[in-house]
């Protein structure tokens, strides 16, 4: 059992959720309430990482953010760190990969709040912020929590991108998924088995939580 890799994955997952969910709440709500010409295109773009092969994203990150690339060089000059083979790079990849997992359930939840309630809230003199905080968030929270759970669990499981841009550096980019791969190649099946069982348990718990939350949404509106 590689605890370093596990805590690294937990940190990556937590940080991804903390950065991505607030953005997903704002963007998800905006998409839920608005109707405009390009909306299907935006929604398709948001969903793209769901079907995009992780190696494709890994390839673009390597060529786009690597040393010698324009963006990679600028980032290095600004922050003194590279985006490949670093935790920051993994975080960036993780944020991109998880957009649909965070956005989808949150947008659905805000759509379920419905325009009548929003109008009623507005007619009571509630501004945008007050309406969001007092009326909509309390109603949409099962969707938000689902987005958090999916994003977190998906980050723990991310493999393809991490393999391509991570470099399996202990304590920096060796996440638990990579550690399992690493242990299998070191013929250490015992450790690989423990870590695989742990990820299986976490994934099951996530799915159970998601189902439980979806049911709650269904019950209220059904």
């Amino acid at each position: 059992m590689d605890w370093d890799a596990f805590t690294l994955s937990l940190r990556l997952g937590a940080l991804t959720v903390l950065l991505l969910i607030p953005l997903a709440i704002l963007a998800g709500r905006a998409l839920a309430v608005s109707r405009f010409r390009g909306k299907p295109a935006i929604e398709a773009l948001v969903t793209l990482p769901l079907v995009l092969p992780p190696t494709v994203l890994g390839f673009y990150l390597l060529s786009g953010f690597g040393a010698g690339s324009l963006f990679g060089g600028a980032f290095d000059a600004l922050f003194g760190t590279s985006l490949v083979f670093t935790f920051e790079g993994l975080l960036l990849a993780s944020l991109i990969v998880n957009i649909p997992f965070a956005m989808q359930p949150i947008q659905r939840a805000f759509e379920a709040v419905g325009p009548e309630l929003r109008e009623a809230s507005a007619s009571c003199g509630n501004g945008w912020w007050r309406s969001l905080w007092r009326i909509e968030l309390p109603l949409a929270w099962p969707g938000i929590l689902t987005g958090m759970a999916l994003t977190f669990a998906h980050t723990l499981g991310e493999f393809g991108v991490v393999l391509m841009v991570g470099g399996s550096i202990p304590g920096e980019t060796r996440t638990i998924s990579i550690a399992i791969y690493d242990r299998v190649q070191a013929f250490d099946n015992a450790a690989a088995g423990e870590m695989a069982a742990l990820l299986l348990a976490i994934s099951l718990a996530t799915i159970a939580l998601t189902f439980f939350l979806t049911q709650r949404i269904g019950r209220r509106h059904g």
Partner: protein, 260 residues
């Protein structure tokens, strides 16, 4: 809503909680064939000096690519010399062409109770393919792994390349190729002697040496990368001393210069 707040607090706790303190132990990139020998050498280094290194294994070709892309390694042990010499020519090493630290050997590896004999002459391979006993033959990716390249050279030398090619399964690195054999998923494979001698494999597999003149010599070279710190310099020197040399010898490596 309360659950939502709890979730956020929990995640914030994970993130802000006891963070892994900045780890300044050097990262050493090493060919997968060194998986066991170098791990043991690093343990001996830690016992002797109280310093430790972080090891990152992969195919030499993959590590070579990562170094060119700026991976933060302080030392690179390749399974051949071409990758290190190439880095030296590009000015990416900090001690020129580095040093040869060992010469490796190629072996045929088979599962212990498998249907194919461990025979270094490979004479029985065509028959095993014909009668269906040999369905999968494991080697490492020849473009990324020096042992994979040596395996291709040896198979060509024996006139078996065309017969074996449809049966090939290629591992990302030599460790994965050996894993295919030890798990019984491939009936035979060509891997490094250093892996065949590792206890974890020796219990489940048999091996036989492939003649050294069937492939180009596997002279393995190492070099320091970037701006190596004190621990990396000490480890580099340690690998050229007797303690480390003895460990490498137990994993079937000939000392530099000996096998020519």
């Amino acid at each position: 809503m309360r659950l939502l707040r709890l979730g956020f607090v929990l995640l914030a706790a994970i993130f802000l909680g006891p963070q892994a303190h900045a780890d300044n132990r050097p990262v050493v990139a090493a060919a997968a064939s060194l998986q066991f020998a170098l791990t043991e050498a690093a343990d001996a280094f830690a016992a002797e000096t109280g310093r430790s290194v972080r090891l990152s294994f992969g195919s030499s070709g993959n590590l070579f690519r990562q170094i060119q892309q700026g991976a933060p390694f302080e030392m690179f042990l390749s399974a051949d010399e071409a990758f290190v010499l190439d880095l030296a020519a590009k000015g990416l090493t900090s001690n020129g062409e580095g040093d040869v630290y060992a010469t490796g050997r190629l072996v045929i590896l088979v599962p212990k109770d498998g249907p194919v004999e461990a025979d270094g002459s490979l004479a029985a391979i065509p028959a095993a393919i014909r009668d269906g006993r040999l369905k999968r033959f494991a080697i490492a990716n020849p473009t990324l792994a020096p042992y994979g390249r040596a395996a291709e050279e040896a198979l060509r030398h024996a006139g078996l390349w065309d017969a074996v090619q449809p049966r090939l399964v290629t591992g990302d690195n030599i460790s994965q190729a050996a894993q295919f054999v030890s798990s019984g998923n491939a009936e035979a494979g060509l891997v490094s002697l250093s892996l065949a001698l590792a206890p974890a494999l020796a219990a489940r597999t048999r091996y036989a040496l492939i003649a050294e003149d069937w492939h180009k010599p596997l002279r393995q070279r190492m070099a320091l990368i970037g701006e190596p710190g004190e621990a990396a310099l000490l480890f580099y020197a340690f690998l050229q001393e007797k303690t480390a040399r003895d460990i490498f010898a137990r994993y079937g490596y000939a000392p530099p210069g000996a096998a020519m």
